[in-house]
Point group: C2
Chain length 289, copies 2
């Protein structure tokens, strides 16, 4: 007769809230809302709610969020680090405690915490290899903070292929930046001044790749004839830009689904086995690259 049990009382005694905590850098970036969508769907299927916090790409906010969530309201924490996150002590103190943690997409490699990752290294390798095959020799790359595996792995892939082809790594072609439009444009402008000039740009995301294409068009630089442009993530906007954006599809939604699935498994079994899962992606060729 329509009795609604009080979840609070229930949770208090069972010590489980059936709620996942999620910390992501932003909700206004397609890849993150897509991953969150994957997290949410898998969680809902398993009867878990999702508590969402955004760090706004700010390290301090990420720390505050962790504090705010780690007070018995969640059964597990999913975290995708800020692009500027370089130290991870704030997370370390929670590792191995009652509440399991899973890092996804942007992870710290030197922490004993499970990870769900895009195939950044293979992606960067595939893209670099393809560009070299197309005749590019001065390939610029946009990366995030050096502490993040996403930057490290993509750089590894890039480096591997250049070395294989005996192309010297030029530090001037590597930009470690955040996502802001100004920083991206500035990096591109610096590259345009170089001689010998660059002939390709691999960008950290589709959105910045699209902005790069737009900027190059403004500067009357032909894409892909003069400079080929590649993105990461295969977002809708890449289909729309002219020339259409080539991109490494990181299988973004699947990353969220797997992260959700892994943490729920760890919650249910009570075993925090160190897991590291790389989600395969694939290259999507369009006009720009």
């Amino acid at each position: 007769m329509n009795y609604q049990p009080n979840m609070l009382a229930q949770s208090l005694v069972t010590r489980s809230t059936h709620t996942l905590g999620v910390i992501i850098p932003s909700l206004e970036t397609t890849i993150f809302s897509t991953m969150l969508s994957g997290i949410q769907e898998v969680a809902a299927l398993a009867g878990y709610r999702v508590n969402i916090c955004t760090s706004n790409e700010k390290h301090e906010t990420e720390i505050a969020n962790i504090q705010a969530l780690m007070n018995n309201m969640i059964d597990g924490l999913l975290i995708c680090h800020t692009i500027q996150t370089n130290s991870f002590e704030h997370l370390r103190i929670h590792i191995g405690k009652r509440i399991p943690i899973v890092q996804f997409y942007r992870v710290a490699d030197n922490l004993p915490v499970s990870q769900i990752l895009a195939d950044d290294e293979a992606g960067a390798e595939a893209v670099t290899e393809y560009l070299i095959k197309k005749g590019c020799r001065r390939i610029a790359i946009v990366l995030g903070s050096k502490g993040l595996s996403i930057s490290q792995k993509r750089f590894m892939g890039y480096q591997n292929v250049l070395q294989k082809h005996n192309i010297k790594i030029d530090d001037k072609l590597i930009a470690h930046i955040d996502f802001t439009l100004e920083k991206v444009v500035k990096a591109v402008d610096n590259w345009l001044k170089l001689k010998p000039g660059i002939d390709a740009i691999i960008s950290i995301s589709d959105k910045s790749a699209v902005q790069i294409i737009r900027h190059l068009k403004e500067k009357k630089v032909a894409v892909p004839e003069k400079i080929r442009v590649f993105g990461f993530g295969n977002e809708f906007v890449g289909e729309i830009v002219d020339p259409a954006l080539s991109s490494f599809d990181t299988n973004t939604k699947r990353i969220g689904e797997e992260a959700s699935s892994l943490i729920i498994e760890q919650i249910i079994t009570g075993k925090q086995n160190l897991t590291k899962k790389i989600i395969p992606g694939k290259m999507v060729l369009r006009k720009s690259g």
Copy 2:
């Protein structure tokens, strides 16, 4: 000495969880993730957590979500209805109880529940007026389910302006559909067969407007020369498409912020005054319209 109070026990006795429940149709649609971002930021500032559920534009899922949230885990509910939602009995039974409810963006007008809205009527009026001034006489419009105020209000605005200019409303130019690409393309194809032909399309969202532009280009229909295209929402992708999309900027993030702010006020004061707030928007002119 680093004592962490147990929020569950605290909530059990104080009867407040400092958590907002949010039900939105999707996380993979820019406007919704943008509104959620606004909700989340305001909530975080006020010390509230956000519990997020997606209905995937499915009426039954929306009902299930409401059930799942209304069990003492949240202090207030924010809801944006499914595009197919036509009956609202599932919500009605929760109205006026302990937990306040605020509808946002897509709302039911005949329910005694507070609303935060885009200025759909004024937006449709402004766009229609502009198109008529540009010489358009056969203006097609894409709407959602008839039960939603978003459809009703936009139709009202459209109708008002056509009547003012003594242009007869042609039912064949009005499409009530959901967001799927196929439905949009089908509606456009039907319009293209009409004679006299259409000279403008007002779309329900920027994403579908962009898809309409792409489809028209495929069909070799010149935009804006033959058909002008307008969107709603002013998303990033509209800046990228060629020709760039004209759009009515509904101030999406602000809608989320205001909804969040209103429900928190209702929670804190304990007063569920019936509020209806329309967030003003503005027309953004680009090449397509």
